[in-house]
């Protein structure tokens, strides 16, 4: 049974060592979890414990230490499988991050399957990591790269989807489940259905979804789905790519080298089974094990409880920010928004906003958030962005508001 009780963010916060320190004498108000989350003790301990008691390379050793490392690594894969409800651990490839997962698909599926006349579809909402790889693979193969436009509130113009129907020439639909700039929750089911109607594969960028709400690849029916460990309480250096086994089997490998071969000779090389075919070289062993611990941690709290907590904070923050004069809010209404809020202050550049907030111990992101096409659409070069996670507190929102007022005073 999943725990659906309300989470106690204050209790959770005590799990995160980084919050024990003051930043220039102020408590740390970390409102930048969308870029990367902080790490609980449980994950750091799993990392250390692995290095101190079970470290070895995986997949090849006969001795007990190597068997332990192997078991821990494959157990992490099983946890990742269950986390997104994939049908088999063979469909779970450990990558460095979301970006590598998406590039893997672009290279290993795209380069082989695309040609002139084909269409690759992304959206204006995409993070560069789910935009540039498709643009590049289209350029290399002579395919056409198109984007679904967004409304001024940052929601996909689903009414225009039919414009991209093209009698079997649409081959890839690459869509984010949640916008990292605006928090838009995208109805990916509709896009996946559209992709499959058109004979295209559906690639989901779950970097902002998987850490915050239950993702079920079988319920979604997507073909590929990528996310990053570092945004979900896990360590840096590890990510996950889910791929449908039928597709992964047909594909040639992406990176080649140790660990992914069956037999090598000068004349010919054959590949190992799934998922090893896609894991060349020594994988991020300890990182995967620690990601497993992060999954345990998140599931112990419950994804629903996390989403509910963030929703509550977002409602509170939208209310408080909405009262401030000279502040523009971007993005969809609360009902269709995850815990991410982009805004701008009249006459003050986001960099300066972030700098002044920092003096209050408040960390927000300032910039284009790897969303230049979206920024272009919104008609801005950059925004300030606050984002929440399971350890975020309402008083952090209050400090954000105080800081914004201070910025407005400095620039008055």
């Amino acid at each position: 049974m999943k725990q659906t009780a309300k989470l106690d963010a204050r209790l959770i916060r005590a799990d995160f060592p980084i919050f024990e320190q003051l930043e220039e004498g102020k408590p740390l108000s970390f409102l930048d979890s969308a870029v990367s989350s902080q790490k609980p003790r449980q994950v750091l301990e799993a990392l250390e414990d692995f290095y101190e008691h079970s470290y070895s390379n995986v997949g090849r050793g006969v001795y007990a230490l190597a068997e332990r490392a192997d078991a821990a690594y494959e157990q992490a894969r099983e946890k990742a499988r269950a986390f997104v409800n994939a049908g088999s651990p063979r469909e779970i490839v450990f990558t460095r991050n979301t970006t590598e997962g998406l590039n893997l698909v672009a290279y290993a599926w795209g380069l082989e399957n695309l040609g002139p006349g084909d269409i690759v579809l992304a959206s204006e909402l995409e993070h560069h990591s789910n935009f540039v790889p498709w643009q590049e693979v289209a350029r290399r193969t002579g395919a056409e790269f198109k984007v679904v436009p967004v409304t001024s509130e940052g929601e996909l113009e689903l009414g225009e989807l039919e414009l991209f129907a093209s009698g079997g020439r649409l081959r890839i639909v690459a869509i984010t489940a949640v916008s990292n700039s605006l928090g838009t929750i995208v109805p990916v089911e509709k896009l996946i259905a559209f992709a499959h109607e058109q004979g295209a594969i559906a690639v989901i960028d779950a970097a902002q979804a998987a850490p915050h709400r239950k993702v079920d690849v079988q319920a979604l029916g997507c073909d590929f789905l990528a996310f990053s460990g570092h945004k979900m309480c896990g360590p840096s250096g590890v990510g996950v790519l889910y791929g449908r086994s039928e597709l992964l089997e047909q594909m040639s490998p992406f990176l080649t080298g140790g660990g992914m071969i069956r037999r090598v000779s000068v004349e010919k090389t054959t590949w190992a089974e799934l998922p090893h075919k896609f894991e060349a070289g020594t994988p991020p062993v300890a990182e995967a094990v620690a990601l497993g611990a992060a999954i345990d941690y998140l599931e112990g709290i419950g994804l629903e409880a996390i989403a509910a907590h963030e929703h509550e904070l977002t409602a509170y923050a939208l209310g408080r920010l909405g009262e401030l004069p000279g502040l523009t809010l971007y993005g969809p209404p609360l009902e269709r928004r995850a815990g991410i809020i982009s805004f701008n202050l009249e006459g003050i550049h986001p960099h300066d906003v972030a700098q002044i907030l920092d003096a209050e111990g408040v960390c927000v992101r300032a910039g284009h958030h790897c969303n230049q096409p979206l920024m272009h659409k919104l008609g801005v070069a950059a925004t300030s962005r606050a984002s929440f996670y399971l350890y975020s507190l309402p008083e952090e929102v209050d400090r954000l508001v105080t800081g914004i007022k201070r910025a407005q005073k400095v620039f008055a």
Partner: protein, 148 residues
């Protein structure tokens, strides 16, 4: 896993004097495969009886560690006289060597289990190929490589 238990007389005996070693020619079914972790390789050839489904004779050829060779040898004794469909359904824990280790309270570790199951794997490939049925997912890939 205790080594004394693993390298017991029975296993060493099968390793040093493998039963049903070699190749049948002609054969009604055959397959080969390898354990990519160590390069161990096995080829299985077998002949059916008049009913076309009872395994009448079988032979394993190849090279590898004591565990993979002894497991194949012990398995060959076990399957002669049994029906193909029955043998194709043998579970991982039911091959003689693996079952023996489980019984003795020191089951094989996952890596050595791969050695021990190589023989069963190629045998399954051979049976499924000859019956025209698809190989179950957990054996996928075992037959992708040519035998040298």
């Amino acid at each position: 896993m205790s080594v004394d238990n693993l390298y017991r007389e029975l296993i060493l005996d099968h390793y040093k004097s493998p039963r049903h070693h070699g190749r049948l020619d002609p054969a009604d079914a055959e397959a080969d495969g390898q354990n990519p972790l160590c390069g161990d390789e096995l080829l299985v050839t077998l002949r059916f009886g008049a009913d076309g489904e009872t395994i009448e004779d079988i032979a394993f050829d190849g090279h590898g560690c004591a565990i993979s060779q002894a497991a194949a040898s012990m398995l060959s004794e076990e399957v002669i006289g049994r029906k193909a469909a029955e043998v194709a359904a043998i579970g991982k824990d039911d091959t003689p060597l693996v079952a023996m280790m489980i019984e003795s309270g020191t089951p094989l570790t996952p890596i050595r289990l791969k050695c021990a199951l190589l023989g069963l794997g190629v045998l399954k490939v051979a049976l499924h190929k000859s019956a025209g049925t698809p190989l179950p997912e957990e054996w996928a890939g075992i037959d992708e490589v040519e035998f040298e």
